[in-house]
């Protein structure tokens, strides 16, 4: 039996007339890596701010390590929140940040932080405001990893990090998580890159949860079927359709649910092309339909 480290019921957050988080229920289990996915403005950052006690809910309940997180030092001590645009005091250098970290994180591993500094080639004596965007993100990633907090939040942690640095982050995260299991909630736009790291996926859109499932159940849970429109339509007739594209007499339809071996053979016999739908494509289908092309501003970023 795994224990629940955080749980929400009917959690709601409003900004004036705008409901950022609209009565959501979810649980985070101990020792798992979660992906908090969704479009800009979906409410990802707001969820993290609520869970870390930085803002107060307007409705519902919220427990982290068994208590509401806000103003409970014993809870907050076990959390680490790496925000998308983390602010540091004027004149601070990365060296100052890492020196101060053990005051906030009792499991801080200075030797591990040093190794990460070398990995990311971070100039620790340079003032933070002189760092590049990627170097600033590296500071956050290092704090997030070396703090080894029992519940760690990474909110879009890698703005400006290049592909090499991002893969370094994934590798170090996996290695360290294997040795020091903890609960990690990672929000990101780069879904395909992190899909395999995640054990569980929570997808939010317009303040509501659209999907809360194990990543392995989501993988291959949708298939796109392409071919002559009439044949495709007949093949997918009984299935829930989550996406559709037409070109002339051809159609490509994305259906929810796995196809079994007989269905795959039948599709091949009908001359239909089957293609797997990646997590990222599935999320585009699930969240893109009504509001495509109108990205909103991130709420309370």
């Amino acid at each position: 039996m795994t224990s629940i480290v955080a749980s929400t019921r009917g959690l709601t957050k409003r900004y004036g007339a705008f409901t950022a988080i609209d009565g959501i229920d979810f649980d985070l289990e101990e020792g798992r890596i979660y992906g908090l996915l969704g479009r800009n403005g979906a409410g990802k950052t707001t969820v993290m701010q609520l869970l870390t006690g930085q803002i107060f809910p307007d409705g519902g309940t919220l427990e982290v390590f068994g208590r509401p997180p806000a103003e409970h030092a014993d809870v907050l001590r076990r959390l680490c929140f790496i925000a998308e645009s983390q602010r540091y005091p004027e004149d601070f250098t990365p060296a100052h940040v890492f020196a101060a970290a053990p005051w906030f994180f009792e499991r801080w591993d200075a030797a591990f932080a040093e190794r990460l500094v070398a990995d990311f080639r971070l100039p620790v004596k340079r003032r933070i405001k002189k760092l590049s965007r990627g170097q600033l993100s590296a500071v956050g990633v290092i704090v997030g990893l070396a703090s080894r907090a029992p519940l760690t939040f990474f909110d879009e942690p890698y703005l400006g990090l290049d592909a090499v640095a991002r893969h370094l982050f994934y590798d170090r995260l996996l290695e360290d998580y294997a040795e020091h299991p903890r609960t990690i909630l990672l929000s990101t736009h780069l879904i395909d890159e992190v899909a395999n790291l995640l054990e569980h996926v929570i997808l939010i859109d317009q303040g509501r949860i659209l999907l809360d499932r194990d990543a392995e159940d989501v993988r291959g849970s949708a298939t796109s079927v392409a071919g002559p429109r009439a044949v495709v339509e007949r093949f997918v007739a009984e299935r829930p359709v989550i996406g559709r594209d037409d070109i002339g007499g051809l159609a490509s339809v994305t259906v929810d649910g796995r196809l079994d071996r007989d269905e795959r053979i039948r599709a091949a016999e009908l001359g239909l092309e089957l293609a797997p739908v990646s997590l990222q494509q599935l999320i585009i289908h699930l969240t893109g339909a009504e509001t495509a092309g109108t990205p909103e501003k991130e709420v309370a970023a």
Partner: protein
Amino acid sequence: MDESRPIFLQIAEQIENDIIDGTVAEDAAIPSTNELAAFHRINPATALKGVNRLVEQGVVAKRRGVGMFVVPGARERLVARRRAEFAADYLRPLIVEAAKLGIGVDELAGMLREERILS
């Protein structure tokens, strides 16, 4: 990793393949869950699920404190199972594609013989 199928199944299949082709001998250790996770850049829980599938099927077994080892006789059983699945997994798609191209059974058989001689 193939995006269309659960990764744990692919992990299990890869280890099976290594056992079938002799890369991992019977009685030898398979990689640890963390090694598999790091190598494939996947969640360790997913790697564990793949290994556990092989444990349930009696392909590998745990030796306390040492790791997972291939059970003697596992290779033979894996080969028998793969043979049983061969027709559905490989022959059927081949025949469907051949029929689409107007290649009859005799011509197909001829092509298979050619191919074998060539390779």
